[in-house]
Symmetry: C2
Subunit: 199 residues, 2 copies
Amino acid sequence: MIGYKANDRKGLVNMENRKEQIVNIAIDFIEKYGFDSFSYKDLSEAVGITKATLHHHFPKKEDLGLAVCEKLKVKAKVVKSKIDKLDTAQEKIKYIFDNLLNCAKTGDICPISSLQAEYNVIPDSMKEMVADLSEREIDYLSEILEEGLGEGIFEFKGNPKSMALMILTSYKGAIQYSRAMDDNTMSTVVEQIYNQIMK
Amino acid sequence: MIGYKANDRKGLVNMENRKEQIVNIAIDFIEKYGFDSFSYKDLSEAVGITKATLHHHFPKKEDLGLAVCEKLKVKAKVVKSKIDKLDTAQEKIKYIFDNLLNCAKTGDICPISSLQAEYNVIPDSMKEMVADLSEREIDYLSEILEEGLGEGIFEFKGNPKSMALMILTSYKGAIQYSRAMDDNTMSTVVEQIYNQIMK
DNA sequence: GTCTATACAAAGATAGAC
DNA sequence: GTCTATCTTTGTATAGAC
């Protein structure tokens, strides 16, 4: 049983519609507790509607899970398009790292990491989407690293794909570690990663 | 609901006693599904006893969880004492990395990572132990890195503690990623980490 | 779209017999 | 130490009214 009210959530100023609101709060729950560890009862209380109404919008929890994955995909695209507008790999990587550190402030873990951790207990339909999301993250970071090598601002051992993989796994792992460790764990790791790639 | 039989488990040749057997299979479940996602029913079927008997040994699931953490602590000490017997940091790091790659073959995630991911839903008593286990891992790897710097076989940017943090977070994150990605994800990351520290 | 009421299965836990 | 039986609470889900 989890206590959590809709009003706790920041950034829900422009409440689009109920379905979106439900998905957003579900993502919060996944980041905090994991997909398997929150119930429709928890969610209904957080949204401020009944369980029955939740089931009206998302008949099965799997339906909700899929909507969450779709939303994560959209969110990733939004971030990507913002970064694409930046001119240099230098600016791009700065944007990404600032963003990473910012995400970690809440003590919540990345929703994709959370779903990876529960990979063996989520429905197959969700597994596919989690796999897709995971792959896209790596590929995109890899591109930026390659760009930065071309610009001559990065320098590191190994190829961009391997480095992208190491960076993301480290970052995601760090968020989890920092839950059980002191607050500066995240910044230490992000700085250390930064050290590894900068000329 | 999870289907899993006791005989599936390798390495349970010397079944010490029932309590130990239960804890061992519980660790398997945590690695595969997470603490919250397996039930006493699942566990009882895997062990081959009834739920009531499980409750006899571990009245509450929290009791079982604590026993699991204790066991993980013992296991960590056993590995540590093996590594301590090795002469050089070179041998030690090789042992660790071989071990890391080996662990990852099963597709199960590190039990500590699993418990970190569920940090907000496990009992407080378990949180303390998970925090302790997390810290010890980092400190120990940090010592070895420092030793290797002294021997002149390692070379990297940043201090040993930061590097230890980056390595472990990356490794743990990689195990989770590799669930959703192809099989060579793990070896790519481990090799990349290795590249970062070797002279 | 939202509610009340209800069904049904699963999960955690206990009592008491052997 | 193990069992059967039972209890309670929770989780998922549906039916039907407004």
